[in-house]
């Protein structure tokens, strides 16, 4: 994720881009590859990003719920740094067309 991604994600619910089903492959717990049918792009992602996308694939979530769900899945405590990371990550995933805010 580039450092210049904005710090805060817009309020509201987030989901996987509707027109872009994702194809997944992984061979270990640290690295995943995900293919976006909409853009034709393939992304190498880490476990945190994979957890975010997995949960948003299941259902649309608001940012606070997403943060807690992902933290629980990764057995990580929620602190300011983690919240900020997920918020910036969401903005970045939005920029590359993998997620979108939904009504």
């Amino acid at each position: 994720m580039p450092q210049h991604a904005e710090k805060s994600a817009p309020r509201g619910r987030w989901a996987i881009t509707r027109r872009s089903p994702l194809l997944w492959r992984s061979w270990d717990d640290d690295e995943y590859v995900v293919y976006s049918a909409a853009s034709g792009d393939t992304h190498l992602i880490n476990a945190v990003t994979a957890a975010v996308l997995h949960h948003l694939e299941r259902s649309a979530l608001e940012l606070p719920d997403l943060i807690h769900t992902v933290a629980e899945a990764l057995d990580t405590k929620v602190d300011e740094q983690f919240e900020s990371y997920i918020a910036r990550l969401l903005v970045y995933l939005d920029q590359i067309g993998l997620v979108e805010s939904v009504p």
């Binding site: 194809l23 492959r25 992984s26 061979w27 270990d28 640290d30 690295e31 995943y32 590859v33 293919y35 049918a37 034709g40 393939t42 190498l44």
Partner: protein, 307 residues
């Protein structure tokens, strides 16, 4: 009948007339030209390849003509379209070979195409992806000199139906100092003339062994995916690469990944599933070959078709 079975007059007559057509498995090509040196060059490079009827249906047809009245220049057309319009006559033979290479791999999207050398031991293939300068052609030529079967110098053709690699053995294009390295290391290897002054520097072609040409109909199982890096003076080191990173690197080297879309991702991921993935740094060819001699699959190879 092979190209080598043609007499000089038959060869020139075909080239001047309806064309010289032959199989470069799994493709067919035809060349029409009145330039005898081009005809002789192809006769040498493709001596062991199967001749086709002159009117055979082909995947690519090249027409090589003089730019009259400019005696020192030629043009090359591919399927009726000008590919090179002003080409120096003295470099025409290597450029015809290069044009065949480009035209052959432009459209066969029935395969997943990866820019890679491919060699096989038994039915197990090592795919060596890499761009120009990575040392893949030199390594592939050396492995062929060591007894590996040549499947391809340039492009891995992966069959979507069963995930196997379709051989397309053609002359190996060696550049600059690689030419002497291969000549010295493998005195029995058959190399053609050197062509200085091409856009890739001095080029010479190593002929594929007859056995590789004869067995072009035998596909091989992808077993190793090895990214070579030539690093002068470096010891040969074979480092494991994570499969996710190998997938991304292979996608970078694939010609038609975006054309195939979702199917391309599935094919690539299946390929990665089947392969042991490594980065291979080498600075000395003999040491590199010794490392490849010890290469064994760590897991039993399972047929992609489940048989």
């Amino acid at each position: 009948m092979k190209l080598s079975d043609l007499s000089e007059s038959e060869l020139l007559s075909r080239c001047r007339g309806a064309g010289l057509a032959w199989r470069v498995e799994p493709f067919a090509v035809r060349v029409k030209t009145r330039l005898p040196d081009v005809a002789r060059g192809l006769h040498f490079l493709y001596a062991d390849f199967r001749l086709l009827k002159q009117d055979a249906v082909v995947d690519a047809e090249l027409i090589v003509r003089r730019k009259l009245p400019m005696a020192g220049w030629v043009s090359i057309r591919v399927d009726g379209t000008v590919h090179y319009n002003w080409l120096r006559r003295k470099l025409v033979t290597p450029m015809v070979e290069w044009t065949m290479n480009v035209s052959m791999f432009q459209r066969p999207h029935q395969y997943f195409l990866v820019h890679a050398g491919v060699v096989a031991r038994g039915d197990r293939a090592a795919i060596l992806p890499g761009r120009a300068g990575s040392g893949k052609s030199t390594l592939a030529a050396a492995l062929v000199g060591r007894g590996w079967r040549l499947l391809s110098d340039e492009v891995a053709l992966i069959r979507p139906t069963d995930g196997l690699i379709q051989p397309v053995p053609r002359p190996i294009s060696l550049k600059e100092e690689s030419i002497d390295i291969i000549r010295r290391a493998f005195p029995d290897a058959v190399l053609g003339p050197e062509w200085p002054g091409t856009t890739k520097g001095t080029v010479a072609h190593m002929l594929p062994p007859s056995d590789s040409v004869t067995r072009a109909g035998e596909p091989a199982r992808p077993t190793w995916l090895i990214f070579p890096i030539f690093d002068k003076g470096a010891s040969a080191t074979l480092e494991p690469m994570t499969k996710a990173k190998a997938l991304m690197r292979t996608a970078d080297n694939a010609f038609n990944y975006s054309v195939l879309g979702r199917q391309g991702f599935e094919l690539l991921a299946d390929l990665i599933d089947r392969c042991e993935c490594h980065e291979f740094r080498y600075g000395n060819l003999e040491e590199a070959l010794r490392r490849f001699d010890r290469l064994e699959p760590s897991t039993p190879v399972v047929s992609p078709t489940g048989t």
